[in-house]
Amino acid sequence: MSTLEIKDLHVSIETDQGTKDILKGVSLTINSGEIHAIMGPNGSGKSTLASTIAGHPRYEVTKGEILLDGEDVLEMGPDERAQAGLFLAMQYPVEVPGVTMTNFLRTAKTAIDGEAPKLRTWTKEVKQAMETLRIDADFANRNVNEGFSGGEKKRVEILQLELFKPKFAVLDETDSGLDIDALRVVSEGVNRAHQENNMGTLLITHYTRILNYIKPSFVHVFVDGKVAEQGGPELADELEANGYDRFLASAAASV
């Protein structure tokens, strides 16, 4: 049983126009096996939270902490965080020139486990996982994300999630850009990781459709860099029906 705690997190970035505060006091606790959904308007800071958890150097934490089983995550580099069991499925996965998927997956797995996987079983495992996620076998020889379609990139993120077996995964709009079949296939992948590894999940999404497959026990409404409201799955349905107006009105009023 593991716990990922985010406490009063404040994050800003440096822009040409000066410092911009994006996260303004986020608190969240996720335990192993729990699924938390985050919904919120564009630009409210959801991806910023995801990137900050993963350790993107662009985002500066000005206040608050992130703890994984009591360990200070903010002290770790992005690689150490992944090795400690955190995984971020990115909203916009990056194309990496010159590195084949095969080479990348093996190198990452080795780094995460601290030892090289047994070649025979690993090759089989990768092949199997690709098949299940309906990723064409020749993707293995292509460069990481290079020229992949939007939906293909998302599938490849979930492929990694299945192979790396993290303790906690942040899925940043993994459902955006997926066709109907892919949405199901990808959701099944997440649910497998959930059941098999008791993974804790932070699922960022704009649509309730994915919540039919991946069932959250907690829903958080994210507005203007903060969690504005928390509830159960019924909150997602209410948002779907009414939108964010009532939160935006109160956020504006509080300025």
């Binding site: 350790g55 992005p78 690689d79 194309e95 010159g98 080479n103 190198t107 990452a108 780094a111 790396f164």
Partner: protein, 431 residues
């Protein structure tokens, strides 16, 4: 760099920096879109095209052995405009080899690995076949030719298949010591050989190489530039490829302060395949320049040019200029040339200029591509967010990128040593 394509006979030539997916000059555009400008192909049956033959055409570039025809370059000439001429002063002067004929000669040659069927001798000025294939195309090549007293002659006799590579170790004794080298490689019809030239140590080295590839012969020439940091190297490597022959030239440039290699191919008849591959890694302070020229001067031959380079360090500099000329008589030509650069740090600069001139529409195909990509913080973050430490992430990217060329080298020991070299190169800048 200009973005405006020049046109010759309706075909885009001249300076181009074209992006491929995930590769842009600035490295900002990582979208999955395929830039349609990435690959240019021309071919099929078309009307013969007229070339605006001008000073810029490769067909009109002067070649010859007379020094008077090659004035001191000013840096404004097309063939010198990227080159730091000051650094080349030591190799451009009409100067004999330091310590020639003594055991203190500026550069030491060691030939090894030769077997039965390979004749090793030396050629003086006027001794055939010296100068048969080489056509000096700039002042450097002429002064090198004039001042190399003896040329090393390697002859692979008819039908001989040499299993092990023929190695020539060329070792410079001291920085700034002028050396003029000349190697004549003759592969008689239907012979097979791999020749490795390995440059080490330091010198002001001006070395010409000429290769005559006989009919039906298969020859690989691998030129390794593993100089010390203070070496200067200019050289022209010419080849004439015979009927149905296969020739491969691989240039690997890692060391040296300034290296400028001109590799030129032409054909003796039809049915030949010629390949030029290059791999380079430029560090801070290094200028690495490769110029390639494929002269499709006869019909139904193919050529493939691929140069890949990584640059690291604020003042690292690389230049690739790739000329392909498909002459009127070269019907049925199939040619492709590509250069890709990977810039690892700010301030490094890669110039990449493919030039394609086509004088006949009756060709199989002709294409060129060039791209310069950046390894940036987003690439690094992606790999690190998957648990991969920074130093390994860099190695992964660079090795992966250059591997395509490494795989073209048929000598396993060279492939292995290159892996070590690249690891060392990456460590140099302390990343």
């Amino acid at each position: 760099m200009t973005e405006t394509p020049e046109k010759v006979a309706g075909v885009e030539v001249g300076q181009r920096r074209i992006s491929i997916p995930g590769f842009t000059e600035e490295g900002e555009n990582l979208a999955a879109e395929t830039n349609s400008a990435a690959d240019h192909s021309h071919g099929g049956l078309g009307k013969p095209k007229e070339v605006t033959a001008g000073a810029g055409s490769r067909a009109n570039r002067h070649t010859g052995f007379d020094l008077a025809h090659f004035p001191e370059p000013t840096g404004r000439e097309e063939e010198w405009r990227f080159t730091p001429l000051k650094k080349l002063a030591g190799v451009l002067s009409d100067t004999p080899t330091q310590g020639a004929g003594t055991d203190q000669e500026a550069v030491n040659y060691q030939v090894s690995g030769t077997v039965e069927g390979v004749e090793v001798s030396s050629l003086g000025h006027g001794d055939a076949p010296r100068g048969d294939v080489l056509q000096p195309a700039d002042r450097a090549a002429v002064v090198g030719y004039r001042n190399a007293e003896r040329a090393l002659h390697l002859k692979v006799t008819q039908n001989t298949e040499v299993a092990e590579p023929i190695r020539v170790d060329i070792t410079g004794r001291a920085a700034g010591a002028r050396a003029n080298g000349h190697i004549v490689i003759e592969a008689e019809p239907h012979s097979r050989a791999v020749v490795v030239l390995e440059h080490r140590g330091s010198a002001d080295f001006n070395g010409n190489v000429e290769v005559k590839v006989g009919d039906g012969a298969t020859v690989s020439l691998i030129s390794l530039q593993r100089w010390e940091d203070d070496a200067v190297h200019v050289g022209q490597h010419d080849a004439e490829v015979g009927k149905d022959a296969t020739y491969k030239h691989v240039a690997v440039t890692l060391g040296g302060s300034t290296v400028r290699l001109n590799t030129n191919f032409r054909y003796a008849a039809e049915g030949a395949t010629a390949q030029m591959y290059g791999l380079y890694f430029a560090d801070a302070g290094q200028h690495i320049e490769h110029r390639t020229f494929v002269d499709h001067n006869s019909p139904r031959n193919s050529s493939d040019v691929l140069y890949k380079g990584a640059l690291q360090g604020a003042t690292a500099r690389s230049v690739w200029v790739g000329d392909v000329l498909i002459r009127k008589e070269a019907e049925g030509t199939d040619s492709y040339e590509k250069n890709q650069n990977l810039v690892l740090t700010d301030g490094a600069r890669a110039d990449s200029v493919p030039n394609l001139e086509i004088e006949t529409g009756l060709i199989e195909g002709a294409g060129h591509a060039s791209s310069t990509g950046r390894f940036d913080d987003n690439h690094l973050f992606y790999l690190m967010s998957r648990g991969i430490p920074e130093d390994i992430a860099r190695q992964l990217v660079v090795r992966g990128f250059l591997n395509e060329i490494v795989q073209k080298i048929e000598v396993p020991s060279i492939r292995e040593s290159l892996a070590d070299d690249l690891e060392r190169e990456l460590r140099i800048s302390g990343h």
